[in-house]
Symmetry: D3
Subunit: 139 residues, 6 copies
């Protein structure tokens, strides 16, 4: 592997970690087990090539991705990752709810209802983890 390919991979890892934190690494690890080349492509193309590009800020990119995942309808697992990713790069919960609400117009109400229930679950998980962490710090 030459420097450039390596930096494409490194750039991908950096952006993946910037957006998805430890969740990104765990997904890549899960996939590496069954499809190591796919796991590499996932780091290099979406994150190394696309999300790393300077033409659009990460907050706008997460808006686009959340809109796409709601519209696909069958990508609840990825939606959860990217709702967390959206929060990580500066979207508020209310803004995420706004984006999903708007999708009722384009993807239909069932897709929006399902996505809102995913958002609720994600927000609850984050709150539960934060509570758990603060409990451990107090102990």
């Amino acid at each position: 592997m030459t420097d450039d390919a390596e930096s494409r991979h490194d750039r991908g890892r950096r952006t993946l970690s910037r957006i998805h934190d430890r969740v990104g690494e765990s997904v890549v690890a899960q996939l590496s087990d069954i499809a190591p080349d796919f796991a590499r492509h996932l780091v290099e193309f979406p994150f190394g090539d696309v999300y790393s590009r300077p033409g659009l800020d990460l907050r706008s990119r997460q808006i686009a991705t959340i809109a796409a995942l709601v519209t696909l309808g069958h990508a609840e697992r990825e939606l959860k990752w990217h709702i967390r990713g959206g929060l990580n790069v500066g979207l508020s919960r209310d803004e995420i709810v706004e984006v999903i609400t708007q999708m009722a117009i384009y993807a239909g109400f069932p897709a929006a209802v399902n996505a809102l229930l995913v958002a609720k679950e994600t927000f609850d998980e984050i709150a539960a983890a934060a509570e758990e962490e603060s409990r451990q710090q107090d102990a």
Copy 2:
């Protein structure tokens, strides 16, 4: 019709016109012919209820909508309207191309290729109309 319902309709018309200019009115007129109530719903729900909400700026909303329309794949007519709408509320051509490029990850390359060809056509039409207008002003 009471005041509130009227202002919902008025609010919809204002937002529709803010985003879509004369194109919006022409679509509503086309639909009014065959389905007048649907045309009214189109003004009132997407534009009166959703796009008019304060929680997200129109530039972010157009990013979400363009992402959704690329992902749907079968909505080239609406994509054209919303690419124009995106330009009207402050997205640059390069930003629109970035959003579509990113959709290759979620909606697949065919959806992104088709959307880029729609964007090209839309940009060309706008350039042609501008040229035509400047020619008439010179005459």
Copy 3:
């Protein structure tokens, strides 16, 4: 071919012709050219096996089919056939517009807008053909 297979085919042709009139035959003929077995399956499975079943009247079946085709989004050609088919088995134009309008909730507004424009085109073609026919009878 035995009697039963033949009657399955015949039953399919009868139901196809009941719903789609001469349009059905022309579609089957077009397909027979490139994929004769597919054309036979199209007559035998959807029309011979499903639409011919007694458990649901043809009017209700056309409501379901129009809803499905609007939702698919990429099936405008078939939507046109089935709007005509719906009229042939007793749906009114207004009822067809109602079904499409309702689809905005499930398939999104773009799918409904596109379907309404297809309905408009179909109704216009039928009106033009009727006018043409009455002109020829007067001559």
Copy 4:
């Protein structure tokens, strides 16, 4: 809120309850928690504006909705609600099975298989609840 907006909301609640009984209220309550405006839109647009319209009977509307939800493929939660809704407004179990069977033609066999398994689960739940209720009355 003026009278008209209120009656639009009230009309929506009435129609929602007519079709979905207590299930509808529970969905609205769940959504109100995370997205109160969306929950209001859900009552007002689909149920207040569309399902309440006189141009198509509720039985026909549920046929269209079940067809759409099977075709979407990713809306099993909503399909379950609307299968119950269909029974509530007069569709028989056999008619619902007919509509789903017909969808194999348009949405493919996997979508139809999945929907039939959802229907089976829904019918079983209803039977179990009825049995439970009769057991309690006997006690």
Copy 5:
């Protein structure tokens, strides 16, 4: 039922069993309970009419089907059946992973990620069943 219809059904059962082994029968049995005619159509049209045709080998047919199910996105249950079916007619695990990887291009990365996780689960189940069987033979 005449000879020909019977042989169509028999041909379907034979091909179903060739591809899906006991899994096919169990799916048909599950569906027979709620929709016996649909269960019969499932044997006769996909398996009796299409998969039994000589123009394409079963290995190629399973490649096409796995590609389609990944693209649909909402058919994880069927994907699992057909990954097993692919192994039964001669595809290797690596070839199945290749087909799914390629689908990232057309159906998007979320559909491919989800399908790879389904493949992993299927391969693990097969390994666990084989281990269990060998344990019982040793006992």
Copy 6:
């Protein structure tokens, strides 16, 4: 650009040209005009990374791609390219028709009907071009 990145691009061009002949180059040229980076990604990811992998022969890959494009439903332009691509890497017309026919099971009959009409058009264009070429050689 380093050697490795260049060879990834070169490998992509070679595979693209192997499958799509001059059509591939013309698509890339069209896209380069509006989205040069996307055009580069299209060469490098699908063709340089995926289609160039040794784990599956190109004939099998085209079967998977045609199946996916029929299932997407909105990718008729790409379907035409890949039907030509399938012929270029050794699929017969009858095998392509078989793959599309089989998709009626998974993507529904409308998607299959539309794809067969695209195949017919593609085959006719190839025949017309061949005739034209032989006429020019005779002259």
